[in-house]
Symmetry: C2
Subunit: 287 residues, 2 copies
Protein backbone atom coordinates (compact mmCIF):
# COMPACT_ATOMS: atom_id res chain seq x y z
CA UNK A 1 0.00 0.00 0.00
CA UNK A 2 1.20 3.47 -0.80
CA UNK A 3 1.32 6.29 1.74
CA UNK A 4 -1.68 8.59 1.71
CA UNK A 5 -1.60 12.32 2.49
CA UNK A 6 -3.62 11.54 5.64
CA UNK A 7 -0.63 9.57 6.96
CA UNK A 8 1.52 12.71 7.16
CA UNK A 9 -0.19 14.41 10.14
CA UNK A 10 -0.21 10.99 11.79
CA UNK A 11 3.58 10.63 11.39
CA UNK A 12 4.06 14.07 12.93
CA UNK A 13 1.74 13.34 15.86
CA UNK A 14 3.43 9.97 16.39
CA UNK A 15 6.90 11.53 16.40
CA UNK A 16 5.82 13.97 19.06
CA UNK A 17 4.33 11.15 21.14
CA UNK A 18 7.48 9.05 20.88
CA UNK A 19 9.65 12.07 21.63
CA UNK A 20 7.63 12.51 24.84
CA UNK A 21 7.98 8.81 25.72
CA UNK A 22 11.79 8.93 25.33
CA UNK A 23 11.87 11.45 28.15
CA UNK A 24 14.11 13.75 26.10
CA UNK A 25 14.17 17.38 27.20
CA UNK A 26 12.02 19.97 25.41
CA UNK A 27 14.93 21.34 23.34
CA UNK A 28 15.86 17.84 22.08
CA UNK A 29 12.22 17.17 21.25
CA UNK A 30 12.10 20.39 19.26
CA UNK A 31 15.23 19.37 17.32
CA UNK A 32 13.61 16.00 16.71
CA UNK A 33 10.39 17.56 15.41
CA UNK A 34 12.29 19.82 13.01
CA UNK A 35 14.28 16.87 11.66
CA UNK A 36 11.14 14.77 11.27
CA UNK A 37 9.44 17.59 9.34
CA UNK A 38 12.42 17.90 6.96
CA UNK A 39 12.44 14.13 6.51
CA UNK A 40 8.69 14.04 5.84
CA UNK A 41 8.95 16.86 3.29
CA UNK A 42 10.92 14.37 1.15
CA UNK A 43 8.65 11.39 1.87
CA UNK A 44 8.34 8.71 -0.82
CA UNK A 45 4.57 8.39 -1.10
CA UNK A 46 4.87 5.29 -3.28
CA UNK A 47 6.23 3.31 -0.31
CA UNK A 48 4.03 1.92 2.50
CA UNK A 49 3.85 3.90 5.77
CA UNK A 50 6.13 1.51 7.74
CA UNK A 51 8.93 2.40 5.29
CA UNK A 52 8.75 6.03 6.39
CA UNK A 53 8.18 5.09 10.04
CA UNK A 54 11.45 3.15 9.97
CA UNK A 55 13.34 6.27 8.89
CA UNK A 56 11.56 8.46 11.41
CA UNK A 57 12.42 6.07 14.23
CA UNK A 58 16.04 6.08 13.13
CA UNK A 59 15.94 9.86 13.66
CA UNK A 60 14.22 9.45 17.02
CA UNK A 61 16.88 7.03 18.27
CA UNK A 62 19.72 9.16 16.88
CA UNK A 63 18.48 12.47 18.27
CA UNK A 64 17.15 11.33 21.65
CA UNK A 65 19.84 8.70 22.22
CA UNK A 66 17.13 6.29 23.35
CA UNK A 67 17.57 2.95 21.52
CA UNK A 68 14.20 1.52 22.53
CA UNK A 69 11.64 4.06 23.79
CA UNK A 70 8.89 1.47 24.28
CA UNK A 71 11.05 -1.05 26.15
CA UNK A 72 9.25 -0.81 29.48
CA UNK A 73 5.83 -0.57 27.85
CA UNK A 74 6.53 -3.76 25.89
CA UNK A 75 7.62 -5.64 29.01
CA UNK A 76 4.53 -4.45 30.82
CA UNK A 77 2.25 -5.57 27.98
CA UNK A 78 3.97 -8.96 27.79
CA UNK A 79 3.50 -9.45 31.52
CA UNK A 80 -0.15 -8.40 31.44
CA UNK A 81 -0.89 -10.73 28.53
CA UNK A 82 0.96 -13.64 30.16
CA UNK A 83 -1.08 -13.09 33.30
CA UNK A 84 -4.39 -13.59 31.48
CA UNK A 85 -3.04 -16.35 29.19
CA UNK A 86 -4.38 -19.28 31.31
CA UNK A 87 -7.87 -17.81 31.38
CA UNK A 88 -7.90 -17.26 27.61
CA UNK A 89 -6.39 -20.66 26.94
CA UNK A 90 -9.16 -22.41 28.87
CA UNK A 91 -11.75 -20.23 27.11
CA UNK A 92 -10.48 -21.49 23.75
CA UNK A 93 -10.37 -25.11 24.93
CA UNK A 94 -14.03 -24.95 25.90
CA UNK A 95 -15.11 -23.24 22.67
CA UNK A 96 -17.24 -25.10 20.12
CA UNK A 97 -14.72 -24.23 17.40
CA UNK A 98 -11.36 -23.72 19.15
CA UNK A 99 -9.51 -22.66 15.97
CA UNK A 100 -12.06 -19.96 15.20
CA UNK A 101 -12.06 -18.85 18.79
CA UNK A 102 -8.25 -18.71 18.90
CA UNK A 103 -8.12 -16.71 15.66
CA UNK A 104 -10.60 -14.20 17.06
CA UNK A 105 -8.49 -13.98 20.17
CA UNK A 106 -5.40 -13.25 18.05
CA UNK A 107 -7.41 -10.59 16.24
CA UNK A 108 -8.65 -9.10 19.49
CA UNK A 109 -5.08 -9.06 20.82
CA UNK A 110 -4.30 -6.57 18.09
CA UNK A 111 -5.96 -3.89 20.23
CA UNK A 112 -2.79 -3.85 22.34
CA UNK A 113 -1.38 -1.69 19.58
CA UNK A 114 -3.70 1.01 20.90
CA UNK A 115 -2.53 0.40 24.41
CA UNK A 116 0.79 2.14 24.03
CA UNK A 117 -0.22 4.30 26.92
CA UNK A 118 1.87 3.07 29.79
CA UNK A 119 -1.00 2.82 32.22
CA UNK A 120 -3.18 0.25 30.44
CA UNK A 121 -4.47 -2.18 33.06
CA UNK A 122 -5.13 -5.91 33.09
CA UNK A 123 -8.85 -5.11 33.34
CA UNK A 124 -8.70 -2.85 30.29
CA UNK A 125 -6.95 -5.52 28.24
CA UNK A 126 -9.44 -8.18 29.37
CA UNK A 127 -12.33 -5.86 28.53
CA UNK A 128 -10.92 -5.15 25.06
CA UNK A 129 -10.37 -8.84 24.46
CA UNK A 130 -13.89 -9.76 25.54
CA UNK A 131 -15.31 -7.01 23.34
CA UNK A 132 -13.13 -8.10 20.43
CA UNK A 133 -14.24 -11.70 20.81
CA UNK A 134 -17.90 -10.81 20.64
CA UNK A 135 -17.52 -8.48 17.64
CA UNK A 136 -18.18 -9.96 14.20
CA UNK A 137 -15.22 -10.00 11.81
CA UNK A 138 -15.06 -9.51 8.09
CA UNK A 139 -13.53 -12.38 6.13
CA UNK A 140 -13.83 -15.98 4.96
CA UNK A 141 -12.87 -18.14 7.93
CA UNK A 142 -13.67 -21.44 6.15
CA UNK A 143 -11.28 -20.60 3.31
CA UNK A 144 -8.62 -19.60 5.84
CA UNK A 145 -9.15 -22.84 7.78
CA UNK A 146 -8.80 -24.86 4.57
CA UNK A 147 -5.56 -23.07 3.68
CA UNK A 148 -4.21 -23.72 7.16
CA UNK A 149 -5.07 -27.43 6.86
CA UNK A 150 -3.53 -27.69 3.39
CA UNK A 151 -0.31 -25.90 4.30
CA UNK A 152 2.83 -27.68 5.41
CA UNK A 153 4.92 -24.57 6.06
CA UNK A 154 3.24 -21.55 7.59
CA UNK A 155 5.03 -18.29 8.27
CA UNK A 156 3.36 -16.29 11.05
CA UNK A 157 4.29 -12.60 11.06
CA UNK A 158 3.87 -11.21 14.55
CA UNK A 159 2.91 -7.64 15.32
CA UNK A 160 3.19 -6.31 18.86
CA UNK A 161 4.61 -7.24 22.24
CA UNK A 162 1.84 -8.52 24.51
CA UNK A 163 -0.24 -9.37 21.45
CA UNK A 164 2.12 -12.28 20.72
CA UNK A 165 0.76 -14.08 23.79
CA UNK A 166 -2.61 -14.19 22.02
CA UNK A 167 -0.83 -15.29 18.85
CA UNK A 168 0.68 -18.13 20.91
CA UNK A 169 -2.80 -19.48 21.67
CA UNK A 170 -3.73 -19.31 17.98
CA UNK A 171 -0.44 -20.96 16.98
CA UNK A 172 -1.05 -23.76 19.49
CA UNK A 173 -4.43 -24.42 17.86
CA UNK A 174 -3.03 -24.39 14.31
CA UNK A 175 -0.23 -26.75 15.26
CA UNK A 176 3.11 -25.14 16.12
CA UNK A 177 5.15 -27.85 14.34
CA UNK A 178 4.44 -26.39 10.90
CA UNK A 179 4.85 -22.74 11.89
CA UNK A 180 7.77 -20.34 11.82
CA UNK A 181 7.20 -17.15 13.79
CA UNK A 182 8.82 -13.98 12.45
CA UNK A 183 9.35 -10.87 14.54
CA UNK A 184 10.97 -7.48 13.80
CA UNK A 185 14.74 -7.32 13.43
CA UNK A 186 15.12 -4.51 15.97
CA UNK A 187 13.18 -2.40 18.45
CA UNK A 188 10.51 -0.27 16.76
CA UNK A 189 7.52 1.20 18.60
CA UNK A 190 5.90 -1.61 20.64
CA UNK A 191 6.47 -4.26 17.95
CA UNK A 192 7.57 -7.71 19.07
CA UNK A 193 11.24 -8.63 18.71
CA UNK A 194 13.16 -11.84 19.53
CA UNK A 195 13.35 -10.56 23.11
CA UNK A 196 9.55 -10.49 23.40
CA UNK A 197 9.11 -13.86 21.69
CA UNK A 198 11.46 -15.40 24.25
CA UNK A 199 9.92 -13.44 27.12
CA UNK A 200 6.53 -14.94 26.21
CA UNK A 201 7.97 -18.43 25.64
CA UNK A 202 7.06 -18.53 21.97
CA UNK A 203 10.53 -19.96 21.27
CA UNK A 204 9.64 -23.09 23.24
CA UNK A 205 6.87 -24.04 20.80
CA UNK A 206 7.90 -22.68 17.38
CA UNK A 207 10.96 -21.75 15.41
CA UNK A 208 11.42 -17.99 15.80
CA UNK A 209 13.23 -15.80 13.30
CA UNK A 210 13.68 -12.06 13.04
CA UNK A 211 13.07 -10.48 9.65
CA UNK A 212 16.30 -8.47 9.76
CA UNK A 213 14.56 -5.10 9.58
CA UNK A 214 13.43 -2.62 12.17
CA UNK A 215 10.49 -1.30 10.16
CA UNK A 216 7.10 -1.54 11.94
CA UNK A 217 5.86 -3.91 9.25
CA UNK A 218 7.43 -6.23 6.71
CA UNK A 219 9.24 -4.16 4.07
CA UNK A 220 10.62 -6.97 1.92
CA UNK A 221 13.40 -4.82 0.42
CA UNK A 222 14.80 -4.35 3.94
CA UNK A 223 14.38 -7.95 5.13
CA UNK A 224 17.31 -10.37 5.36
CA UNK A 225 17.82 -13.23 2.91
CA UNK A 226 17.18 -15.96 5.50
CA UNK A 227 13.77 -14.44 6.21
CA UNK A 228 12.95 -13.90 2.53
CA UNK A 229 13.72 -17.54 1.76
CA UNK A 230 11.26 -18.66 4.43
CA UNK A 231 8.73 -16.04 3.31
CA UNK A 232 8.67 -17.10 -0.34
CA UNK A 233 8.89 -20.83 0.44
CA UNK A 234 5.94 -20.76 2.82
CA UNK A 235 2.68 -22.28 1.65
CA UNK A 236 0.84 -19.73 3.71
CA UNK A 237 1.70 -16.47 5.45
CA UNK A 238 -0.43 -15.28 8.37
CA UNK A 239 0.29 -11.59 8.85
CA UNK A 240 -0.87 -9.81 11.99
CA UNK A 241 -1.57 -6.13 12.42
CA UNK A 242 -1.87 -2.99 10.33
CA UNK A 243 1.87 -2.64 9.75
CA UNK A 244 2.13 -6.00 8.02
CA UNK A 245 -1.02 -5.29 6.00
CA UNK A 246 0.34 -1.89 4.94
CA UNK A 247 3.64 -3.39 3.81
CA UNK A 248 2.37 -6.56 2.15
CA UNK A 249 -1.14 -5.74 0.92
CA UNK A 250 0.05 -5.62 -2.70
CA UNK A 251 2.45 -8.58 -2.56
CA UNK A 252 1.34 -11.55 -4.63
CA UNK A 253 1.61 -14.48 -2.26
CA UNK A 254 -0.69 -16.72 -0.24
CA UNK A 255 -1.15 -14.28 2.64
CA UNK A 256 -3.99 -13.86 5.11
CA UNK A 257 -3.97 -10.61 7.04
CA UNK A 258 -5.54 -10.44 10.49
CA UNK A 259 -5.93 -7.02 12.01
CA UNK A 260 -8.17 -4.40 13.47
CA UNK A 261 -8.65 -1.45 11.09
CA UNK A 262 -7.77 1.39 13.41
CA UNK A 263 -7.66 4.34 11.05
CA UNK A 264 -9.54 5.69 8.05
CA UNK A 265 -6.69 5.15 5.64
CA UNK A 266 -6.34 1.44 6.43
CA UNK A 267 -10.11 0.97 6.58
CA UNK A 268 -10.53 2.53 3.13
CA UNK A 269 -7.64 0.52 1.72
CA UNK A 270 -9.17 -2.71 3.08
CA UNK A 271 -12.65 -1.52 2.07
CA UNK A 272 -14.10 -1.91 5.57
CA UNK A 273 -15.38 0.39 8.32
CA UNK A 274 -12.97 1.83 10.90
CA UNK A 275 -12.92 -0.44 13.94
CA UNK A 276 -13.60 -3.63 11.96
CA UNK A 277 -11.78 -6.87 12.66
CA UNK A 278 -10.56 -8.08 9.32
CA UNK A 279 -9.35 -11.36 7.85
CA UNK A 280 -8.34 -10.48 4.31
CA UNK A 281 -6.00 -11.27 1.44
CA UNK A 282 -3.60 -9.24 -0.73
CA UNK A 283 -5.19 -6.61 -2.94
CA UNK A 284 -4.30 -7.16 -6.57
CA UNK A 285 -4.18 -3.63 -7.94
CA UNK A 286 -1.61 -1.23 -6.57
CA UNK A 287 -3.92 1.11 -4.73
Amino acid sequence: MKTYLECIPCFVRHSLDVGRITGADEKTQEILMREVLINLSKIDMSKPPPYTAKHIHFLIRKITGNPDPYKEIKIRHNKLALKIYPKLKSMVKKASDPLNSAMRLAMAGNVIDLGVKNNITEEEIEKSITKGLSQPFIGDFQLFKKEIENSKNILYLADNAGEIVFDKIFIEEIGPEKITLAVRGGPIINDATIYDAKFCNLDTIVSVIDNGSDAPGTILEYCKKEFLDIFWNSDLVIAKGQGNFESLSNVEHNIFFLFKAKCNVIANHANVEVGSYVLTRPIKKNK
Copy 2:
Protein backbone atom coordinates in the same frame (compact mmCIF):
# COMPACT_ATOMS: atom_id res chain seq x y z
CA MET B 1 1.73 32.94 23.83
CA LYS B 2 4.56 30.95 22.30
CA THR B 3 3.99 27.97 20.03
CA TYR B 4 4.12 24.59 21.75
CA LEU B 5 5.39 21.38 20.17
CA GLU B 6 1.80 20.07 20.32
CA CYS B 7 0.82 22.77 17.82
CA ILE B 8 3.00 21.24 15.09
CA PRO B 9 0.89 18.12 14.35
CA CYS B 10 -2.14 20.40 14.49
CA PHE B 11 -0.68 22.71 11.80
CA VAL B 12 0.01 19.70 9.59
CA ARG B 13 -3.49 18.27 10.06
CA HIS B 14 -5.02 21.70 9.43
CA SER B 15 -3.02 22.16 6.22
CA LEU B 16 -4.28 18.86 4.93
CA ASP B 17 -7.86 19.79 5.83
CA VAL B 18 -7.61 23.15 4.08
CA GLY B 19 -5.93 21.55 1.08
CA ARG B 20 -8.95 19.24 0.83
CA ILE B 21 -11.38 22.16 1.16
CA THR B 22 -9.69 24.09 -1.67
CA GLY B 23 -10.62 21.25 -3.99
CA ALA B 24 -7.07 21.12 -5.35
CA ASP B 25 -6.07 17.87 -7.06
CA GLU B 26 -4.11 15.23 -5.16
CA LYS B 27 -0.77 16.19 -6.74
CA THR B 28 -1.22 19.85 -5.78
CA GLN B 29 -2.17 18.83 -2.26
CA GLU B 30 0.98 16.74 -2.05
CA ILE B 31 3.10 19.70 -3.16
CA LEU B 32 1.33 21.81 -0.57
CA MET B 33 2.01 19.31 2.22
CA ARG B 34 5.71 19.13 1.33
CA GLU B 35 5.99 22.93 1.35
CA VAL B 36 4.15 23.17 4.66
CA LEU B 37 6.49 20.60 6.21
CA ILE B 38 9.57 22.53 5.04
CA ASN B 39 8.04 25.75 6.37
CA LEU B 40 7.22 24.14 9.73
CA SER B 41 10.74 22.72 10.07
CA LYS B 42 11.88 26.35 10.38
CA ILE B 43 9.02 27.45 12.67
CA ASP B 44 9.69 30.27 15.14
CA MET B 45 8.42 28.72 18.36
CA SER B 46 8.68 32.03 20.21
CA LYS B 47 5.82 33.45 18.11
CA PRO B 48 2.13 32.66 18.75
CA PRO B 49 0.48 29.99 16.57
CA PRO B 50 -1.48 32.48 14.40
CA TYR B 51 1.88 33.89 13.24
CA THR B 52 2.78 30.52 11.73
CA ALA B 53 -0.77 29.92 10.52
CA LYS B 54 -0.56 33.16 8.53
CA HIS B 55 2.52 31.89 6.70
CA ILE B 56 1.01 28.47 6.11
CA HIS B 57 -2.12 30.01 4.62
CA PHE B 58 0.01 32.14 2.34
CA LEU B 59 1.47 28.86 1.02
CA ILE B 60 -2.01 27.34 0.71
CA ARG B 61 -3.25 30.28 -1.36
CA LYS B 62 -0.11 30.37 -3.49
CA ILE B 63 0.03 26.65 -4.23
CA THR B 64 -3.69 25.92 -4.66
CA GLY B 65 -4.51 29.23 -6.33
CA ASN B 66 -7.57 29.50 -4.07
CA PRO B 67 -7.65 32.96 -2.47
CA ASP B 68 -10.35 32.13 0.08
CA PRO B 69 -10.95 28.41 0.69
CA TYR B 70 -13.61 28.99 3.35
CA LYS B 71 -15.60 31.57 1.38
CA GLU B 72 -18.74 29.49 0.95
CA ILE B 73 -18.53 28.06 4.46
CA LYS B 74 -18.34 31.60 5.90
CA ILE B 75 -21.37 32.75 3.90
CA ARG B 76 -23.27 29.68 5.03
CA HIS B 77 -22.39 30.31 8.69
CA ASN B 78 -23.35 33.98 8.40
CA LYS B 79 -26.71 33.05 6.92
CA LEU B 80 -27.40 30.39 9.55
CA ALA B 81 -26.52 32.77 12.38
CA LEU B 82 -28.63 35.58 10.88
CA LYS B 83 -31.55 33.20 10.65
CA ILE B 84 -31.52 32.48 14.38
CA TYR B 85 -30.62 36.08 15.34
CA PRO B 86 -34.24 37.18 16.12
CA LYS B 87 -34.79 34.21 18.43
CA LEU B 88 -31.54 34.85 20.31
CA LYS B 89 -32.19 38.57 20.45
CA SER B 90 -35.56 38.04 22.12
CA MET B 91 -34.00 35.50 24.49
CA VAL B 92 -31.51 38.16 25.64
CA LYS B 93 -34.25 40.80 25.97
CA LYS B 94 -36.20 38.57 28.30
CA ALA B 95 -33.16 37.60 30.39
CA SER B 96 -32.85 38.81 33.98
CA ASP B 97 -29.36 40.15 33.19
CA PRO B 98 -29.32 40.89 29.44
CA LEU B 99 -25.63 41.91 29.38
CA ASN B 100 -24.56 38.67 31.05
CA SER B 101 -26.82 36.69 28.79
CA ALA B 102 -25.50 38.45 25.67
CA MET B 103 -21.91 37.86 26.75
CA ARG B 104 -22.60 34.16 27.21
CA LEU B 105 -24.20 34.10 23.80
CA ALA B 106 -21.09 35.67 22.29
CA MET B 107 -19.01 33.05 24.07
CA ALA B 108 -21.28 30.26 22.89
CA GLY B 109 -21.05 31.61 19.34
CA ASN B 110 -17.36 30.79 19.46
CA VAL B 111 -18.30 27.14 18.83
CA ILE B 112 -18.83 28.06 15.19
CA ASP B 113 -15.06 27.83 14.93
CA LEU B 114 -15.57 24.10 15.25
CA GLY B 115 -18.24 24.15 12.65
CA VAL B 116 -15.91 24.52 9.73
CA LYS B 117 -17.47 21.40 8.36
CA ASN B 118 -19.61 22.56 5.52
CA ASN B 119 -22.66 20.62 6.55
CA ILE B 120 -23.33 22.13 9.97
CA THR B 121 -27.07 22.68 10.28
CA GLU B 122 -29.20 25.39 11.87
CA GLU B 123 -30.29 22.81 14.45
CA GLU B 124 -26.70 21.94 15.33
CA ILE B 125 -25.79 25.58 15.81
CA GLU B 126 -28.90 26.17 17.94
CA LYS B 127 -28.08 23.10 20.02
CA SER B 128 -24.49 24.25 20.54
CA ILE B 129 -25.68 27.71 21.52
CA THR B 130 -28.22 26.39 24.00
CA LYS B 131 -25.62 24.09 25.50
CA GLY B 132 -23.09 26.92 25.65
CA LEU B 133 -25.58 29.20 27.36
CA SER B 134 -26.29 26.70 30.11
CA GLN B 135 -22.60 25.88 30.73
CA PRO B 136 -20.86 27.78 33.53
CA PHE B 137 -17.97 29.98 32.48
CA ILE B 138 -14.73 30.79 34.21
CA GLY B 139 -14.09 34.48 34.88
CA ASP B 140 -15.07 37.59 36.77
CA PHE B 141 -18.16 38.97 35.05
CA GLN B 142 -18.70 41.76 37.59
CA LEU B 143 -15.20 43.13 36.98
CA PHE B 144 -15.77 42.87 33.23
CA LYS B 145 -19.11 44.68 33.55
CA LYS B 146 -17.48 47.45 35.57
CA GLU B 147 -14.74 47.86 32.98
CA ILE B 148 -17.35 48.05 30.22
CA GLU B 149 -19.28 50.72 32.12
CA ASN B 150 -16.13 52.73 32.86
CA SER B 151 -14.83 52.61 29.29
CA LYS B 152 -15.49 55.29 26.73
CA ASN B 153 -13.72 53.61 23.81
CA ILE B 154 -14.00 49.86 23.44
CA LEU B 155 -12.27 47.90 20.73
CA TYR B 156 -14.03 44.62 19.99
CA LEU B 157 -11.85 42.07 18.17
CA ALA B 158 -14.06 39.68 16.23
CA ASP B 159 -13.20 36.07 15.55
CA ASN B 160 -15.23 34.08 13.04
CA ALA B 161 -17.87 34.55 10.38
CA GLY B 162 -21.27 33.53 11.73
CA GLU B 163 -20.03 34.10 15.26
CA ILE B 164 -20.08 37.85 14.63
CA VAL B 165 -23.88 37.74 14.57
CA PHE B 166 -23.74 36.66 18.22
CA ASP B 167 -21.16 39.39 18.83
CA LYS B 168 -23.68 41.83 17.37
CA ILE B 169 -26.18 40.98 20.09
CA PHE B 170 -23.51 41.47 22.76
CA ILE B 171 -22.40 44.76 21.18
CA GLU B 172 -26.00 45.99 21.12
CA GLU B 173 -26.25 45.32 24.87
CA ILE B 174 -22.92 47.05 25.64
CA GLY B 175 -23.87 50.09 23.58
CA PRO B 176 -22.57 50.21 20.01
CA GLU B 177 -21.81 53.96 20.14
CA LYS B 178 -18.62 53.42 22.13
CA ILE B 179 -17.43 50.37 20.21
CA THR B 180 -15.14 49.89 17.24
CA LEU B 181 -15.28 46.41 15.72
CA ALA B 182 -12.08 45.04 14.23
CA VAL B 183 -11.98 42.15 11.78
CA ARG B 184 -9.11 40.44 9.93
CA GLY B 185 -7.41 42.29 7.09
CA GLY B 186 -7.86 39.46 4.61
CA PRO B 187 -9.44 36.01 4.21
CA ILE B 188 -7.98 33.46 6.61
CA ILE B 189 -9.73 30.22 7.56
CA ASN B 190 -13.32 31.10 8.57
CA ASP B 191 -12.33 34.32 10.33
CA ALA B 192 -14.57 37.35 9.87
CA THR B 193 -13.48 40.04 7.42
CA ILE B 194 -15.05 43.35 6.38
CA TYR B 195 -17.18 41.36 3.92
CA ASP B 196 -18.70 39.32 6.77
CA ALA B 197 -19.20 42.35 9.02
CA LYS B 198 -21.16 44.01 6.22
CA PHE B 199 -22.99 40.79 5.34
CA CYS B 200 -24.20 40.60 8.94
CA ASN B 201 -25.02 44.34 9.12
CA LEU B 202 -22.49 45.05 11.85
CA ASP B 203 -21.42 48.14 9.89
CA THR B 204 -24.87 49.66 10.43
CA ILE B 205 -24.40 49.78 14.21
CA VAL B 206 -20.66 50.20 14.84
CA SER B 207 -17.56 51.56 13.20
CA VAL B 208 -15.82 48.61 11.54
CA ILE B 209 -12.09 48.47 10.82
CA ASP B 210 -9.86 45.75 9.51
CA ASN B 211 -6.60 45.15 11.35
CA GLY B 212 -4.54 45.09 8.16
CA SER B 213 -3.31 41.56 8.66
CA ASP B 214 -4.51 38.20 7.44
CA ALA B 215 -3.28 36.24 10.46
CA PRO B 216 -6.00 34.21 12.26
CA GLY B 217 -5.51 36.32 15.37
CA THR B 218 -4.11 39.75 16.16
CA ILE B 219 -0.36 39.76 15.56
CA LEU B 220 0.42 43.36 16.42
CA GLU B 221 3.65 43.44 14.40
CA TYR B 222 1.61 42.72 11.26
CA CYS B 223 -1.28 45.09 12.00
CA LYS B 224 -1.68 48.44 10.26
CA LYS B 225 -0.99 51.75 12.00
CA GLU B 226 -4.63 52.89 11.90
CA PHE B 227 -5.64 49.75 13.78
CA LEU B 228 -2.73 49.97 16.24
CA ASP B 229 -3.70 53.58 17.11
CA ILE B 230 -7.23 52.46 17.96
CA PHE B 231 -5.92 49.40 19.80
CA TRP B 232 -3.58 51.32 22.11
CA ASN B 233 -6.00 54.23 22.60
CA SER B 234 -8.89 52.01 23.64
CA ASP B 235 -9.86 51.96 27.30
CA LEU B 236 -10.85 48.35 26.91
CA VAL B 237 -10.29 45.60 24.35
CA ILE B 238 -12.73 42.69 24.12
CA ALA B 239 -11.01 39.90 22.24
CA LYS B 240 -13.00 36.95 20.95
CA GLY B 241 -11.72 33.46 20.23
CA GLN B 242 -8.60 31.39 20.66
CA GLY B 243 -6.64 33.15 17.90
CA ASN B 244 -6.89 36.52 19.59
CA PHE B 245 -6.02 34.98 22.97
CA GLU B 246 -3.00 33.21 21.48
CA SER B 247 -1.71 36.41 19.90
CA LEU B 248 -2.44 38.84 22.73
CA SER B 249 -2.28 36.79 25.93
CA ASN B 250 1.05 38.37 26.89
CA VAL B 251 0.29 41.92 25.76
CA GLU B 252 0.04 44.41 28.61
CA HIS B 253 -3.22 46.23 27.96
CA ASN B 254 -6.75 46.31 29.36
CA ILE B 255 -7.95 43.23 27.48
CA PHE B 256 -10.68 40.75 28.28
CA PHE B 257 -10.56 37.52 26.29
CA LEU B 258 -13.75 35.56 25.64
CA PHE B 259 -13.37 32.13 24.14
CA LYS B 260 -13.99 28.45 24.36
CA ALA B 261 -10.79 26.53 25.17
CA LYS B 262 -10.89 23.96 22.40
CA CYS B 263 -7.49 22.31 22.73
CA ASN B 264 -5.09 21.16 25.42
CA VAL B 265 -2.46 23.75 24.62
CA ILE B 266 -4.83 26.69 25.01
CA ALA B 267 -6.52 25.17 28.05
CA ASN B 268 -3.14 24.71 29.77
CA HIS B 269 -2.04 28.20 28.83
CA ALA B 270 -5.27 29.65 30.25
CA ASN B 271 -5.11 27.26 33.20
CA VAL B 272 -8.57 25.81 32.58
CA GLU B 273 -10.03 22.48 31.45
CA VAL B 274 -10.52 21.76 27.75
CA GLY B 275 -14.05 22.74 26.73
CA SER B 276 -14.32 25.55 29.26
CA TYR B 277 -15.84 28.88 28.38
CA VAL B 278 -13.40 31.49 29.55
CA LEU B 279 -13.46 35.20 30.34
CA THR B 280 -9.88 36.04 31.17
CA ARG B 281 -7.18 38.72 31.10
CA PRO B 282 -3.61 38.89 29.75
CA ILE B 283 -1.08 36.64 31.45
CA LYS B 284 1.79 38.65 32.84
CA LYS B 285 4.71 36.27 32.47
CA ASN B 286 5.73 35.16 29.01
CA LYS B 287 4.66 31.54 29.18
